[in-house]
Symmetry: none
Subunit: 204 residues, 4 copies
């Protein structure tokens, strides 16, 4: 997910990360558009103008948040895909990896869910579309492979299945709170169980 890095190339990357985390929280909680730059500054304990020492614009904060998240996501996904597991195991690994990302980047994921549809129109966020394409290729391909291998049902519309699995996982970011009752791995386990086996009692 290549993207333009920020004004100061090297210095004080810690402060940036801190501020971006703050911004991400606010964006996630109130929506990107509804978030004023003053609101972020408040949350960071500084004045609005001071943010511009660190970032070019409100949009560039969003950019950095999203591209940072996608970079990490694809690191994880690529490792899973490179392992060349069977379809069912691949789906399991992808789902688990996804919940781990939700755990680590809850705010970024929530922002992504809410804003990416409008953002892809902007040249600057073109990489969101690229990611989506790659994403669909990975998931849909795995599902198709699973159907061909006889491990996934062949009586379902495959694109519907894809959307079902995709949404089912990512929407969790809207209610997930890190440090809650269940670990990401536990949530992944239960979600996988529901998605793969269904919620109805079997053998009826």
């Amino acid at each position: 997910m290549p993207n333009n890095k920020k004004t100061p190339a090297t210095p004080a990357p810690e402060r940036r990360r801190q501020l971006l985390a703050t911004a991400a929280e606010v964006f996630a909680a109130e929506g990107y558009n509804a978030t004023t730059v003053r609101r972020i500054a408040d949350a960071a304990g500084m004045l609005a103008g001071s943010l511009y020492y660190h970032f070019d614009s409100k949009e560039s904060m969003l950019d950095e948040i999203l591209s940072g998240f996608l970079d990490e996501l694809w690191e994880g996904y690529d490792a899973v895909l490179a392992a060349a597991l069977g379809p069912r195991e691949t789906i399991e690994a992808l789902v688990t990896e996804s919940f781990r990302e939700i755990d680590r980047h809850r705010a970024a994921v929530a922002i992504y869910q809410k804003e990416s549809k409008h953002l892809v129109a902007h040249e600057r966020f073109r990489y969101l579309a690229d990611s989506q394409v790659k994403f669909e290729k990975a998931w849909l391909g795995t599902l198709e492979r699973g159907v061909a291998d006889g491990v996934f049902r062949d009586d379902l519309d495959i694109r519907l299945t894809y959307r079902f699995v995709r949404d089912t996982v990512w929407v969790a970011a809207s209610w997930y709170r890190p440090g809650g009752l269940h670990s990401p791995e536990e949530i992944a386990r239960q979600y996988l169980s529901m998605v793969l086996e269904g919620i109805a009692v079997r053998g009826r």
Copy 2:
């Protein structure tokens, strides 16, 4: 679903409905905050100020759109619940009814999905919270009844199951386009099949 009625007490309810449909489309497409009142007026072929003859405010349009949708939704849900079916049949009926509402009120559902979380904080939209409570009671209660009756699995966290089913259905509004390949009933059927039986091939 309480709601304040509008400036002109009686006249031309058809024009209102028309304008609200237009506004809902724009809200859904661009987000409530990002939508300017001028943008709605453009889409309706009038000037921004003219909308205020019909509505008190931008917020009141949103209000009317959401409460109108919820009114109809609960009409359907209440009928289902009144039928006092078994848990599995109730879930099936609720899911089917939900997809029908998505079909009829796609824009309103999309707006609801994106905005309701922030809106509940406003006094004016308190009814959203009320609806949510009632909604959870209906679905969660049905699931619990199903577990007790042995028709739904008892090895899953019930609240996780609830969120899974709820999100799985409503998120569809983000990609659903009326008049597409599948009828709401067909989509409901496949979704139910996935949710109830899972996507994995059985008995292996």
Copy 3:
């Protein structure tokens, strides 16, 4: 001098002209950059935001002021050039026309003098450069014709002469006040006399 016209294509051109005249006065008096949009609004008896009902931006006001001035200037110049007078008579007519334009568009001319150098860099003001080229062609060409015809001195650097005449005329906008002691034509007459005959007493 073609240029993008403003938001309302046809309506109320009088108010626009009024506001542009106000803006031009302020720009001329305080400089374009130093002029705040609030300052213009004050001078026009409205609030800053209200200006944006009439104009897209502060820059578009400047654009309209300058292009309006250049349009009229070239109307006059083209008429002079079309008359195909002798070189001396052409210079006399151009100088006279120039002082008339200074009389009519004093503010615009002053702005042009001060800002055009920086403005040509902007794509939007490309027409300023075009005008300058055409301007130089007209004046320099006439001077060269005059030297060839033996009516202007041939012992002077012709480009220096061009700049001398050009600046001499237009700088007057910085001190000229309409309705002063001398009419534009009278000032033109005296300037022409100085430029053509010199300020020293002859034949000594």
Copy 4:
């Protein structure tokens, strides 16, 4: 030419001169208002805040640039006036001295031309007005003496003549580039020839 001295009482006057020359270039090229202090710092290879070790403010840089220029200008002018030459010879010497100043202080002269009108309003730049008064006294007085002596024409409005000569000379700073084809003295010679004898061929 009164002027407040700077923060460090004694140290490194060379660095100051260097930085002021840099600032003057940028002010001349982009205008005082449009020039950011960061822009100057960039050109000087330092950070914006660092300039404040050397100067009190952006305005004080401008002040020092302009007063430095005027100090030198009046050194030259005073020498000319002290020589008590004839009117024509005085004008010749003043013009020549002026072009020498333009050559040495091109940036300062350009800034002076563009900004002095607004600056005189500020208390701090009162000395600009003083200089202008003294300037007018010297030039206008010389011209009047010349008219009385019969060496300058008496059929011209004397104030118009004054402005003509004054502007004619100083506007040259807007296009003059040191190290160009003509030396300041050569330009002065040609300008004087034009101003005194006119550009028309004589004796017709």
